[in-house]
């Protein structure tokens, strides 16, 4: 007896589980594409001379005092240039390569998907701050909506957002593409942001501009000197695409530069379609609730009837 009912219980659980799992991949969320005027950075590892000028300029323009050459991003370092040891030497025989790391300004950012109240959001999408420029795609942080939950740090595949661990009122710190240096007297990209790192780079290894233009420039460089470059622009579609784009020297894998190997579906899209699809826009919870309430009521009424009967019998 006990066993049969257990089996029925199991069956119920299995059915519910399957029902929850089935729609999860069926209703993928539409792919987010870069906005036409999205801006970003192009970093060319082959041109970088590792001078660190952009690191100093970044700190200065963000009002952070210089306390020695940083080796990693942290809550006082939004930009770092690392020397990476290569597992495979480059085609030109180099065993190391430079890489600049800062926020990728993802086309479909994990951090934005993760953030509960939209503290991290694409500029222009804030529900709290009206009048932000639209269409730049810059991922910015709003101190008033941030709970300091640090889910953004967990979510970002590039491990970009940093937290002020020793502050009583900690902030999330990351590159916001120097939007505070925007120059409204200019037209075009400079009117929304003006990255200090790109401005100071003596080698044109860091270039700021519209993502579409940067992508064209990257491919122009590759086709002009095919022997020099790895024939691929990292960020064109990696992780759903990023607005910070990377070029590597021929024979150098982007993973050796420390950039993760990501499919073209963004983690945000995967996460949201799996997590939200079973809800069918709120229909599932309502149906489950109504069903549960009906069953519980019915069961209770039956139990009451039964005990009423027993009551009569015993009289």
């Amino acid at each position: 007896m006990a066993l049969t009912i257990s089996r029925r219980a199991l069956f119920g659980v299995a059915v519910a589980a399957t029902a929850a799992a089935l729609p999860s991949r069926a209703e993928a969320r539409p792919r987010v594409v870069a906005e036409p005027d999205a801006v970003g950075l192009l970093y060319d590892s082959t041109r970088c001379i590792g001078c660190g000028g952009c690191v100093a300029a970044c700190k200065e323009s963000n009002g952070v005092p210089w306390d020695g050459e940083p080796t990693e991003l942290d809550c006082t370092t939004r930009n770092v240039v690392k020397t990476r040891n290569l597992r495979q030497p480059s085609a030109a025989g180099a065993s190391t390569a430079f890489v600049k790391r800062q926020c990728m300004h993802c086309v479909d950012p994990s951090c934005v998907s993760a953030c509960m109240l939209g503290a991290l959001h694409k500029q222009g999408n804030s529900k709290r701050v009206p009048g932000e420029p639209k269409g730049t795609g810059i991922v910015v942080w709003d101190p008033d909506l941030c709970l300091g939950c640090r889910y953004c740090e967990i979510a970002c595949a590039f491990s970009i957002p940093k937290f002020e661990w020793l502050a009583a009122n900690p902030r999330i710190v990351k590159c916001e593409l120097c939007r505070h240096r925007a120059d409204p007297t200019h037209d075009g990209p400079l009117s929304v942001a003006n990255p200090a790192c790109a401005e100071v780079c003596p080698a044109e290894a860091v270039v700021f501009g519209r993502r579409a233009d940067l992508l064209a420039e990257a491919w122009r460089r590759i086709s002009a000197e095919p022997g020099r470059y790895e024939p691929r622009v990292y960020g064109e579609s990696d992780g759903g695409g990023t607005q910070s784009l990377y070029l590597a020297a021929a024979g150098v894998s982007f993973q050796d530069l420390g950039l993760p190997d990501m499919p073209s579906e963004s983690p945000a899209s995967l996460s949201e379609s799996v997590s939200h699809a079973p809800y069918l826009h709120g229909l599932t919870p309502i149906a489950l609730y109504a069903g549960a309430a009906a069953i519980i009521r019915r069961n209770r009424r039956r139990a009451e009837d039964e005990s009423a009967h027993h009551g009569e019998d015993s009289k």
Partner: protein
């Protein structure tokens, strides 16, 4: 007429040695909390930008709520599958759930860097509906309220038996009103955990390449749901054995066996889903790499399948074996959760993490206050169904003496009908 034996307050001293120990542990946690708000999270923890949640989210939230899911799984059996005989287990399970979820919520508040911005959460237009964490947060907050409402009848029953006529009239009147509303509250208590337990698992999907492929799967929400049911049922078996030992609480052998059989099915379901998913995703290759992750994976699977073996064979009749297996079922779920959130999460080569004493004492202190609140409430309110002659012994002393096998053996001897 009610067939169910009635729960009774256990009575006994509120402040015995065990309780003082528990409160002292919580006192240390309080110190950690205060220092954390003065000097920042980094001052009390080893959390860093790579392991930004340390052990607090994985253990205090994800594991505690798994342990508290007994309220959900027993509720499912009792109310949805209409197994009225489970009724005596509902109140203790709901109390564990209410406490565990409250502790999870409280731990989040302590872990949040900018909790003063939380008032925005009360404004639904500001919600980012894409955020899996938002869903967890809202759902868990709602569920904590629901769980404590589910505990109200215990308080009202107590009031109804009060010698003061006004209290007793109040208790009876509101007890009846609440009883009428209960089906709708219980339905919420079934819906909300279904949602947030799966979302809890879903939290790590977005971490993508940072989570080891053996743990990163689109099945994370479903696995989290199944694992919470198994953890919850396991917890109730462990709890029942402990209460039997300490308070001579009623211990329905048939019922526990039946519940363990269900749990056995859940454990097999979990393991089966996991293996099937690895096969479907073509990830079996990872099982051929003899590394740390393989050891962790095998350990998890063993912890899931060994109790399933006990539960689905005749061994489940032996209360010592049943107790150990139930403990293993809880540990299995807990380990899988900690692995998916921390152990098998890799933030990159430049980060490492090991919890600090501050973090550990906070987690221990929160668990301690949970046990203390459970004891205090069961002493004061009718939660547990006891035999007529209660044995006055402290569950805390029992927990602290930590000899569960021996205890289970003894309780087994007593339960044979």
């Amino acid at each position: 007429m009610n067939h169910h034996p009635h729960p009774r307050p256990i009575g006994g001293p509120l402040l015995d040695r065990g309780m003082v120990t528990l409160l002292a542990l919580f006192g240390i946690a309080e110190g950690v909390i205060i220092w954390r708000f003065v000097a920042g999270l980094g001052a009390v923890s080893n959390m860093n930008d790579g392991y930004a949640w340390g052990i607090w989210e994985p253990v205090n939230v994800v594991v505690f709520t798994g342990i508290g899911a007994g309220a959900y799984s027993v509720g499912l059996l009792c109310y949805l599958l209409n197994r009225g005989e489970y009724h005596p287990l509902v109140r203790p399970s709901v109390l564990v759930g209410a406490i565990a979820y409250s502790l999870g919520g409280a731990s989040i508040m302590v872990a949040l860097g900018r909790p003063w911005n939380m008032y925005w959460l009360a404004m639904p237009p500001m919600w980012n509906l894409s955020s899996v964490l938002l869903e967890v947060a809202i759902c868990v907050m709602g569920y904590v309220c629901v769980l404590w409402i589910e505990m109200l009848p215990a308080a009202l029953d107590r009031a109804a038996t009060s010698r003061h006529p006004r209290w007793s009239a109040f208790g009876r009147r509101w007890g009846q009103r609440l009883a009428r509303a209960m089906p709708y509250i219980i339905a919420l208590a079934m819906l909300l955990p279904t949602m947030h337990q799966s979302s809890l698992g879903g939290l790590m999907i977005v971490a993508g390449p940072k989570l080891h492929p053996l743990w990163h799967t689109t099945l994370l929400p479903l696995l989290a749901l199944v694992s919470c049911l198994a953890m919850g049922l396991g917890t109730v078996v462990v709890l029942t054995a402990m209460m039997k030992q300490s308070w001579n609480a009623r211990h329905d052998h048939e019922l526990l066996v039946d519940m363990c059989r269900v749990n056995g099915g859940l454990l097999v379901l979990f393991a089966g889903l996991r293996v099937a998913d690895l096969m479907a995703a073509g990830k079996l290759d990872f099982l051929a790499v003899p590394d740390f992750y393989l050891i962790v994976f095998v350990l998890e699977m063993a912890l899931f399948l060994l109790p399933a073996f006990v539960f689905l064979t005749g061994r489940v009749e032996n209360s010592r074996a049943r107790f150990v297996a139930a403990l293993s079922a809880v540990t299995a779920g807990a380990l899988w959760r900690v692995d998916a959130f921390l152990t098998c999460y890799n933030a990159g080569e430049s980060f490492s993490y090991w919890p600090s004493w501050g973090e550990i004492s906070f987690t221990v202190g929160m668990a301690a206050i949970g046990v203390a609140v459970f004891i205090a409430i069961t002493r004061l309110l009718p939660v547990v169904v006891v035999h007529d002659t209660p044995v006055p012994a402290s569950i805390a002393a029992f927990v602290l003496s930590a000899k569960p096998e021996e205890a289970a053996g003894r309780s087994g001897a007593l339960t044979a009908h």
